[in-house]
Symmetry: C2
Subunit: 344 residues, 2 copies
């Protein structure tokens, strides 16, 4: 029995091992992903982003608990991928795990994985994609992809989910207002966490106003970016538009979890009814593929250009004799296939 | 007279135009950068990063004013590049500008430019690099590169400066603690802004403790990443180590600007004495070059692979018949030069 079959059969130990391989980008990891990939596509991927201090980790924690102990219906299997692109080390991520452990320890229907950036940013996005695929194949119904902040890297990771939650909290200062303007565009559901704090009503009102200003239109649905066009034909032209709801929660007191779960369920129904579930799936896969391709092209190029040539051109840039744009032209030319059988 | 010569002669209007060209990635912009590049390398590049709500914009504003009206010595020419990778639009960046205008409007020794992400992240990093080069050539003595948050994208941008300021503020919640662990590694100078607020002493103590734990060693100096090795030989082995100082400021009351300016001056002297000024310069240029190269390789590849082939392989991935890793292998093969003159 292969390790991929063990993962498909729900064996935790096998899953942990495969995830470690994927994180370390080993050949075994790639082999396992190949075997698991046909079994992906069923999980509901939920991105969670927002400024530091909004209580995203606690919120995801409580939501995982909620889906494990729903007031009605069957418990759902929940995975959490906590991505910390700001930490080249695992400090922050580990801290997050400790907080989570208390409630969810020992529950085999929950799987939590922390990921810190190891080196390149593209690497983290690719690794996250692989980890999510493995969890999807392993049969988790909901996969929360939680990021530590609200920078571009985090937004890029969160927006590739089917449903993106943007978490806000009252009283985080003026800079946060500036961030909202940009991040609001990617929210499918807005969460005002810590809603028992002073200023919660003001935050709620401000967000509702900004949403009204945004005038939901075709563009709101098309926000996932340039690449959307490729697969956009899938969406039905007369489908209803999604107006992002604003949900109040107090994660620490376990308040609002039912409202948030209801909003998530409504969004999923909307995605399926409009065909956008498939659109987002395709956009995500295409982005993953292009990230991998970009890395492969760079590696390929490096293997073909002599180190000495590269060093010489670099040195000319360092000493300001060669502008970067000209250096790139020279580096590309250094790789050009030499025509053979030509008269010399 | 070319526009590059106008920029070198200090003409603001020419500089503005060139910056717009660079942002829009036009051929004129590339041409201007080519002409300006030999004149770069003199400015002191200062990255400013930290969580939202720490008051980075106000701090940079006050520092610019301080350098324009120093208690002793000549005024310095100051440029500010405010980078907002979280905003695909310019909302946040524009807000920042309005706040700044009041103090610095009409001063020809100050230049402020806001940049929001337009599309790709690599694009923003490259564009920022070009803008900084143009400002450097235009003769600004200090260039502050301020980012809106503390995600990986922001950190990547800020760390490419000669001196990286990490700004903290009291009472921003627990998530911020988690961020600190990662971001502390890149700080050359730690700033506790809003130091008149409750909790300032606690923040100061916590940071000082974390710095002690970090045990400044060779690694502290080598933190700028993997690529440092290439140029690392420049650093003298017996050079003194830099222990990041913690500076208290209250930007809104103009307090602590002298301490911060002194710390920045000490860091510059340290960089020059140890040879690390040059190391960081080279690391930055190499990173810029590799980002440009990566984009060029992708464009080059796209121009050579038929759209139909690409679509067919994508579709196989969408329908889970082909794993992404295998798709990348097929896409690379699709570009392989067909051997000619072979027996068929």
């Amino acid at each position: 029995m292969s390790i991929a079959e063990d993962v498909l059969a729900g064996r935790r130990y096998a899953l942990s091992r495969v995830l470690t391989w994927i994180e370390n980008d080993t050949a075994e990891g790639q082999e396992a992903l190949r075997a698991l990939f046909p079994h992906t596509g069923r999980a509901h991927l939920i991105g969670v982003t927002g400024a530091p201090g909004t209580g995203k980790s606690s919120l995801v924690n409580r939501m995982a608990y909620y889906y494990r102990h729903p007031p009605e219906g069957e418990p759902r299997r929940v995975a959490v991928v906590a991505v910390d692109p700001s930490s080249p080390f695992t400090g922050g991520a580990i801290l997050g795990d400790r907080i989570r452990m208390r409630d969810l320890a020992g529950d085999s229907g929950v799987f939590i994985r922390s990921m810190a950036s190891r080196g390149a940013l593209g690497g983290l996005a690719r690794t996250t994609a692989g980890v999510v695929q493995a969890l999807d194949a392993a049969g988790f119904d909901l996969i929360f992809i939680e990021t530590v902040g609200a920078g571009q890297a985090e937004v890029d990771i969160a927006r590739l989910a089917h449903t993106t939650l943007v978490v806000e909290a009252p009283g985080l200062g003026d800079d946060v207002q500036a961030i909202k303007a940009g991040i609001l565009e990617i929210a499918d559901i807005l969460v005002v966490n810590k809603a028992d704090r002073p200023g919660a009503m003001a935050t709620l009102r401000a967000l509702t106003e900004m949403l009204k200003l945004a005038h939901p239109s075709q563009e709101t649905i098309m926000h996932h970016g340039q690449r959307m066009t490729a697969a956009a034909g899938v969406r039905k032209a007369d489908a209803p538009l999604w107006v992002p709801p604003v949900v109040k929660t107090v994660a620490l007191n376990n308040e609002g979890m039912d409202d948030l779960a209801a909003a998530i369920a409504r969004h999923r129904a909307h995605l399926e009814a409009t065909g956008e579930w498939q659109v987002r799936d395709r956009v995500r896969l295409q982005t993953e593929l292009e990230n991998m391709l970009q890395e492969a092209l760079m590696q390929h190029w490096r293997s073909r250009v002599p180190e000495g040539t590269y060093r010489r051109i670099l040195e000319a840039v360092f000493t300001r004799r060669l502008a970067p744009a000209d250096a790139v032209a020279q580096l590309l030319a250094a790789d050009a296939p030499r025509p053979k059988n030509l008269p010399t």
